[in-house]
């Protein structure tokens, strides 16, 4: 085995892969959120449609998109692989008494939360991404498609619930990624923990209010265009 594959197969190499792909996905979520927030502009979807078109046609975005699919699959595969390895390490014989744990609920349930998120991503992509990509040809009104989906209450509830799962996954994942990279020492520890907690609350919350406001037909952001109606 050469040096690199030895590194990738080691326990720490595996953890670093989880950390890098996780941080990349976190970065993507921020970009995704900025795009989504345009759904809340009171302009019947002009800004969102223009943005969607750029995302569709830009070559650089396409390349990044493939990197993203790869990151999601790798993060999921490694997550399952690591969970199986850890179960084996714990051994068949479990403790008879389970003492009150000092660990957080989300840290102990990352595999479950991750699996739920993977299912969500599957449904989410077949719902929007597939229709965007392979739906009707020609000019597509992306905004109208999203608006139609979010006029159904059960879809809104499903999206909000999924964001709650994301919040718990991020609550542990964010700070864990930094710990794995070794970027946690002394004073940083509290700062990274606090930023992580804030991020885990704020990002899913902003994602979740979009379907709710669209369901209620509220568009709180004003139309910034210089010549509205164009």
């Amino acid at each position: 085995m050469n040096k690199f594959s030895q590194f990738l197969h080691s326990s720490l190499g595996n953890k670093l892969l989880m950390s890098f792909t996780g941080l990349f996905l976190i970065l993507f979520l921020v970009v995704h959120l900025i795009g989504n927030l345009q759904l809340l502009i009171d302009d019947q979807g002009v800004a969102f449609n223009a943005y969607s078109e750029i995302m569709e046609k830009n070559l650089l975005i396409k390349v990044i998109a493939y990197a993203l699919y790869f990151a999601i699959l790798l993060h999921t595969y490694k997550g399952i692989d690591i969970t199986i390895r850890n179960r084996k390490a714990r051994g068949a014989q479990r403790y008879a008494v389970k003492a009150k744990s000092d660990t957080t609920w989300s840290s102990r349930n990352m595999a479950l939360l991750g699996s739920l998120l993977f299912v969500f991503i599957g449904i989410h992509m077949s719902d929007f991404w597939y229709k965007f990509k392979f739906g009707s040809h020609g000019d597509v009104d992306f905004y109208a498609m999203v608006d139609l989906s979010f006029s159904q209450l059960w879809i809104v509830i499903f999206y909000v619930a999924s964001q709650l799962v994301l919040a718990f996954h991020l609550a542990h994942g964010f700070q864990s990624a930094f710990q794995t990279l070794g970027l946690r020492d002394g004073n940083y520890t509290t700062v990274i923990k606090n930023i992580g907690t804030g991020f885990a609350i704020l990002l899913p919350l902003l994602f979740a209010i979009i379907p709710v406001l669209m369901y209620l037909d509220i568009h709180p952001m004003p139309d910034f265009r210089v010549f509205p109606g164009q």
């Binding site: 720490l12 084996k88 714990r90 840290s107 710990q179 990279l181 070794g182």
Partner: protein, 250 residues
């Protein structure tokens, strides 16, 4: 003090292991936990029964030999305390106490509460040393080391290698132990030279022994009798990443 003890018995007439219940009528609050077990064993011997096997050595909280999981907690209910330093006054008259061995794939049970922790020895043998003679203990201040750094190295060196971190970790990961050893040596000038080689070799051995991966739960830090910080794990991660990024093979 009257106690009901549920103790894991394994090996010999107990085969693959099961819990046995013992009534303890003559314990008192001044006994240490291990003294209480000594009294139980004397009773068992007088009844011509097999005494409970458990490990102990210094009984001063510094050797790392005593183990066992008491009511689901490695080294029992007290923070920063080894089993030998837990006294019966921390339990109540009439309590039922469940005593189990440390459980992990890499710590197979030898008998009753005794587990084989030689996997830790092999991790140390892989790189937990300095390969040149560093001579006698240095004169104070002969090698200047910043106070903060010396304190960090000392905190890491406090690890007694008992294995409570592995016992507490839901993944049975040995990262706290390994990282304490790596950090302790990497922080000091004598150990710094070989820090990359050491991190790689000790991690490779740790994987080889079948310990789990660190999920950053923090259960190890909470149960560690020497309160070793998970900041050491961050440092091991850093050392390991640097070791793999650097061009030199050392």
């Amino acid at each position: 003090m009257k106690l009901t003890l549920k103790i894991w018995r394994q090996g010999g007439e107990f085969g693959n292991g099961k819990f046995e219940t013992y009534q303890m009528n003559n314990a008192n609050e001044h006994m240490s936990f291990l003294e209480m077990l000594d009294v139980l064993n004397e009773e068992l011997i007088s009844q011509k029964k097999t005494p409970v096997a458990f490990e102990h050595d210094c009984r001063e909280g510094i050797c790392g030999t005593c183990s066992m999981v008491i009511n689901g907690q490695p080294h029992g209910p007290l923070k920063g305390t080894t089993t030998c330093q837990v006294h019966m006054r921390h339990f109540n008259d009439g309590d039922t106490i469940v005593i189990e061995p440390f459980r992990a794939q890499a710590f197979p049970v030898i008998r009753d509460l005794v587990v084989d922790r030689s996997s830790f020895d092999r991790i140390i043998q892989a790189g937990g040393y300095i390969s040149v003679s560093t001579g006698q203990a240095q004169d104070a201040n002969a090698i200047p080391i910043e106070k903060d750094v010396a304190a960090k190295a000392f905190d890491a060196a406090a690890c007694i290698g008992c294995g409570a971190c592995v016992a507490a970790c839901p993944n049975a990961s040995a990262m706290l132990f390994t990282s304490a050893k790596v950090a302790h040596l990497a922080l000091l000038p004598q150990g710094k030279v070989e820090s990359h080689k050491r991190a790689k070799a000790m991690v490779a051995q740790m994987d080889e022994e079948g310990f789990g991966l660190c999920s950053n739960y923090g259960a190890c830090e909470a149960e560690c009798p020497k309160e070793i910080s998970v900041a050491n794990i961050a440092m091991l991660n850093r050392e390991y990443l640097n070791a793999n990024l650097s061009r030199s093979d050392s």
